[in-house]
């Protein structure tokens, strides 16, 4: 039994944020009807990675990842008949997800400000870069500019060199994935609350705020006046010798902050001469630039000769938080991921069989599942047009 299988969700989204939100709900069984432009479909169909690097609307690995378990209906929302079909779908929808610019929903007659008048039971969730009230000077945004507006960009990487550019973070869509997950959480909460009150909700999610709230531990201290603000690129950092080190092949990340970590490092390295000058509690009470540099130097020299996974296993046994820096192949080969079946094989009519990342939570009674691959463009149009109420779904 799937937890959300009794919900019908209409997805108007055409970006990663809204599509990821829809996926998180669909993987728990919600019936997500994705409305796509006839002809070209969702813009994410035209974004890579493509199978064999050969572009095409049914060849995108991005679209395939983001749209598992959904149904695709091709509707031209600029035509009267398309709007009529939309309104028939909305009459039977529990929730609508969108990620177009502020104002776009109004053109469909879905005004966030008074949605309860027309659709009192509907949960309407709109994800935008800076929220519905974004000022004109922030009207144009991509995940890069959102990340740079949230504090994460300026402070990435840790230990930033002030003469080199701030970075975007991992991948192309970090802000979108984060906002999509936040949206799924708010939609799930609202669907739950609706069962109590019978009333829907309008939800306005700002990607900038999602990203900024992800650093609440620091930002909350700053805004309360408990922590200084300045123009340092290292303002979010923790200092100390922690960081990424090269191994024989690949890299490891080493976290060290407590005397117990230092003791473990000494054991791991066989207590060489250079370590004897360091006080046992230096990581807590004696962090100096010289010691940090020396520790990083010698530890780095040793790690260069080591296998990253063997070093990690030995370190963890001693209580040192040292882990491998995994790449995509490492993830596929990871024994832990295999044990937890984090990757699922999915068969898609064009992409064939491939391993997909699943979701990071295991629910004992209602696990998330990929039952169907991402739909072909308009694959379910006929079914949905014949039965907009979804009675046979």
């Amino acid at each position: 039994m799937s937890a959300l299988s009794h919900f019908r969700i209409v997805e108007l989204s055409e970006g990663v944020a809204g599509e990821y939100c829809g996926k998180l709900l669909a993987d728990f069984g919600a019936e997500v009807v994705k409305i796509e432009r006839p002809g070209s479909g969702s813009p994410t169909r035209n974004m890579g990675p493509f199978l064999d690097d050969d572009a095409g609307p049914e060849r995108s690995g991005l679209f395939a990842y983001l749209n598992t378990n959904k149904r695709s209906v091709a509707i031209d929302l600029e035509s009267p008949s398309g709007l009529e079909m939309l309104s028939r779908l909305l009459a039977h929808a529990d929730a609508v997800i969108d990620d177009h610019a502020p104002g776009w929903l109004n053109t469909l007659g879905l005004d966030l400000a008074d949605i309860e008048r027309r659709y009192p039971k509907l949960v309407l969730c709109a994800i935008t870069p800076f929220g519905q009230s974004a000022p004109a000077e922030r009207a144009h945004a991509e995940d890069l500019t959102v990340i740079q507006s949230s504090g994460w960009g300026y402070h990435t990487p840790s230990g930033a060199d002030p003469d080199r550019p701030p970075l975007k973070g991992a991948g192309r869509f970090l802000a979108s994935y984060e906002a999509g997950m936040e949206a799924a959480m708010c939609v799930a909460a609202s669907l739950y609350g609706r069962e109590e009150t019978g009333r829907g909700r309008a939800i306005d999610i700002s990607k900038q705020e999602v990203m900024a709230s992800r650093v609440d531990y620091v930002l909350g201290q700053m805004v309360a006046g408990d922590m200084d603000v300045d123009i340092s690129r290292r303002r979010f950092d923790l200092g100390g010798p922690a960081g990424i080190f090269a191994c024989r092949q690949g890299y490891v990340y080493v976290w060290m902050s407590a005397p117990a970590h230092w003791k473990a490092v000494r054991e791991l390295l066989g207590d060489p001469e250079w370590m004897k000058a360091f006080p046992d509690n230096w990581l807590e009470k004696g962090l100096t630039p010289d010691r940090i540099a020396e520790c990083r130097h010698y530890l780095g020299e040793w790690l260069k000769t080591q296998d990253k996974n063997e070093a990690a296993a030995a370190a963890q046994t001693l209580g040192l938080t040292l882990v491998a820096v995994n790449d995509a192949k490492d993830l596929r080969d990871c024994a832990q991921f295999k044990h937890r079946a984090f990757f699922a094989e999915v068969e898609h009519p064009v992409l064939g069989r491939a391993l997909y990342p699943t979701t990071p939570y295991k629910l004992s009674r209602t696990p998330a599942r990929i039952e169907r691959p991402a739909p072909l463009l308009g694959q379910h149009s006929a079914d949905v047009f014949a039965d907009p109420a979804g009675a046979s779904a």
Binding site: P49, G131, Q148, R172, E195, G220, G225
Partner: protein
């Protein structure tokens, strides 16, 4: 003490938190912001590190206060038998339990899922671990940057052609907490319909991998292993962060040929918009280093904020890279109530980082983070119905210390 009904979609839901540091508390904070009553279980004997590290007064610990607004605090010593019994009584009156203790610790306390289920059959038990609850590497532990490294993100962050530098060290815990909060809500919906609770096992490393799922798909489909790629984006060029005057930086992302022409016109050289090297996305990707050089030369003398305004007016996505000063001075974040006032336990006003959403019929967010044991009387008296005398006895016996 009154009860804590503040409206919002989760009004009436009670959450017990056995959490530490940031990830578990962040999950609880999300639920509290959505209207749930979230009770942190704490004790003098095992104060969270965010209440104590480098802090003189554990009731005024800045890091703790940043992550735990709108929660309640009740003191229970989990090292005592009576404390565990008391905690079980509270769990029996609750809907969700969230824990992110060390691997295995919850079982050693006698509070594993089976034990808790015995007193509360429909409990939603959320267990958060770096690698999840079981498996060959579940014994390994780490802090947030370890999750990021293991999950495949660190390898992707850094300057092109150089070793990876990884995300900022603060990344991961809050993302992990949000994944846990979402999963708990899905289980709550299932419980309403079926009467069943369940066990939820959330992995921090898998949460991270989910944030780069498309990158993993490239390996699955094409065998390609991504690496550090600076600020590159396959579908956009230019796509970068460029130096401005006063040591500031501006981010510019051009997603169409029209946006490129608009940018080129503002940059000035009359022939630039028609320059064959940059006309299409494919052209710009092929000549991206030259393009980035041209833009850097141009942005270098400009003020980041006013340049971003000019580009925005022409339809180009651009923003100043925000320092901590810029973040706190961001009028839009204040105007939307992202930064908002609450009342702290001493009655003073305090500004917090609020939720990342606005919603109709939202939960009221009125209180700062609790003092240790601030809500003992409410939890033990109002919820559990213990008499004053019994509460006093428990206190003197050190059970509620």
């Amino acid at each position: 003490m009154t009860n804590h009904r503040r409206g919002g979609p989760l009004q009436g839901v009670r959450v017990v938190e056995l959490t530490k540091v940031w990830a578990g508390p962040y999950a609880g904070k999300q639920l509290a912001f959505l209207g749930a009553e979230v009770i942190r279980i704490e004790s003098h004997g095992s104060l969270d590190v965010t209440r104590t590290f480098g802090v003189a007064d554990f009731d005024k610990a800045p890091g703790f206060m940043a992550v735990n607004p709108q929660k309640l605090s009740a003191q229970i010593d989990m090292k005592s038998k009576e404390g565990i019994a008391l905690l079980k009584d509270l769990i029996a009156e609750s809907d969700i339990l969230i824990e992110n203790l060390r691997p295995g610790a919850i079982d050693r306390l006698g509070l594993g899922y089976e034990a808790v289920k015995a007193v509360k059959p429909d409990i939603i038990f959320v267990s958060m671990g770096m690698y999840g609850n079981d498996g060959p590497l579940a014994y390994q532990t780490g802090y947030a940057p370890c999750f990021v490294a293991l999950g495949g993100l660190s390898a992707l962050v850094g300057y092109e052609g150089e070793p990876p530098s990884g995300m900022n060290v603060r990344y991961a815990d809050s993302t992990f907490g949000t994944a846990a909060a979402y999963a708990a809500l899905v289980a709550l919906i299932h419980r309403r319909r079926s009467g069943e609770g369940q066990f939820i096992d959330v992995s921090a490393v898998e949460t991270m991998t989910s944030m780069v799922g498309d990158n993993v798909m490239d390996f699955s489909l094409n065998g390609r292993i991504g690496g550090a790629d600076g600020n590159r984006h396959a579908e956009m060029a230019p796509h970068g962060v460029f130096r401005c005057a006063h040591g500031d930086w501006i981010s510019i992302a051009v997603s169409s040929d029209a946006a490129w022409r608009a940018l080129a016109e503002i940059m000035g050289p009359p022939a630039l918009a028609e320059d064959l090297r940059f006309r299409t996305l494919a052209d710009r990707k092929a000549n991206e280093l030259e393009l980035d050089d041209l833009i850097s030369q141009w942005t270098g003398a400009n003020d980041a904020e006013s340049l971003a305004g000019k580009l925005q007016a022409a339809g180009v996505a651009a923003a100043k890279s925000a320092s901590s000063i810029d973040l706190i001075a961001d009028g839009h974040l204040w105007g939307r109530g992202f930064y908002r006032p609450v009342t702290d336990p001493t009655g003073e006003e305090r500004t917090i980082v609020g939720p990342a959403w606005r919603m109709t019929e939202a939960a009221e967010i009125t209180d700062g983070a609790p003092k240790l044991g601030q809500h003992n009387a409410y939890v033990f008296g109002d919820i559990l119905g213990l008499s004053q005398a019994e509460q006093q006895r428990l206190k003197e016996a050190g059970v509620t210390r």
